[in-house]
Symmetry: C2
Subunit: 218 residues, 2 copies
């Protein structure tokens, strides 16, 4: 298996497993990796042989200790590069994910640690995701999704779970960026869309978009 393929599998399994608490199914992996389910089945079998995952046939997959370690190191590289690109090289938060998707495979610890140190060893990336440290230690937050909030309460935007340029541009247009304070006005029974106020303006967020915004109660 090509190293890059291994890394993409492990990173994706990590991202879908909610801190390694859940088994990850093939369908979701197939989606995220852009491969057909049959291909994923083969890939997982190989990763199992490599001892990077425990693959329970027909039920799902979880990372082993070695798999998790590798996954965390890819996640670290990805998020450090995203941060470096925005903070040091003038890229927007909506541009960096794609580039980091390639840069994350460059394997040189000295390089990543140097970038991290120039940035002051940041703990969050431009999308609010926590950055593992050089040892793989990562902050565990108890933030919630905007879709899980309650009417009348106040929240602060802490991150996003969709990194696509279109979604991030949409958020920026409505000033719904990291650090913004919001108040939930209404939640529509009909379609679960949310009406909230943010920077003195009211706006309506679809249930789908609300799934992708991470907030903290204030």
């Amino acid at each position: 298996m090509r190293q890059e393929t291994i890394e993409n599998y492990l990173k994706t399994i990590y991202n879908l497993s909610a801190n390694n608490t859940m088994l990850v199914g093939n369908q979701k992996l197939s989606d995220k990796l852009g491969l057909r389910p049959a291909t994923v089945t083969e890939g997982l079998r190989k990763l199992h042989d490599l001892k990077h995952v425990i693959y329970e046939k027909s039920y799902g997959t979880r990372l082993t200790a070695s798999g998790a370690k590798l996954a965390l190191s890819i996640v670290r590289r990805h998020r450090i590069w995203e941060t470096y690109l925005t903070k040091e090289l003038g890229f927007g938060w909506d541009e960096v994910h794609e580039i980091a998707e390639e840069l994350e495979h460059i394997k040189n610890d000295k390089l990543i640690n140097k970038l991290a140190s120039i940035l002051g060893n940041p703990i969050y990336d431009p999308h609010g995701d926590p950055i593992p440290d050089a040892k793989g230690k990562i902050l565990k937050s108890n933030f919630i999704k905007l879709s899980e909030t309650k009417v009348k309460n106040n929240y602060k935007v802490m991150g996003v779970t969709d990194h696509s340029s279109s979604f991030l541009k949409y958020l920026e247009k409505h000033r719904l960026i990291i650090g913004a304070f919001i108040n939930i006005k209404t939640i529509e029974d009909f379609d679960n869309s949310i009406i909230l106020s943010c920077q003195k303006k009211e706006l309506s967020i679809s249930a789908k978009a609300a799934e992708c915004i991470i907030v903290e109660a204030v």
Copy 2:
């Protein structure tokens, strides 16, 4: 053909063709690419079909205009990264080639041009190789190899053609670095080794090493 494979072929053909003046043979490509001759034959046929090279069966290969353009852009990325790694990220000139070998495949013009601009659009990389500009224009120098110098003359070290860490460390140990002034004392008839003075010390350079050092008459 994988994009990375294409890029490695084209870059290598460029580097072996002395500014596109010479046909490149399969044997040398096989060496540099770490592939067997039979594999190179296949690869070149495919690049020919892609119109990136003119492959004259049994005689050799040259880049087409489109191939040269692509090659120059890889060379630019490689050399800009090497320069950025040394100038901005604190790496030694003996460490950067391997990393650049990976980074050169990250395709994002805005990124490379940003790095170049931070560096002040440099014209030479840490090994003295000229860096093509964003349009592919590259300086053509008429420097010579140390092995082509004449006794008693004075020269300035301008570059190296071997980027291996061991060779560069060896040079550094003897202060034979870019910008150093040297005077040729003797050239041994027997083995073509060169005795020269550099920074007030005398040292003997093997014919093989002298092939890899680029100098300018002063």
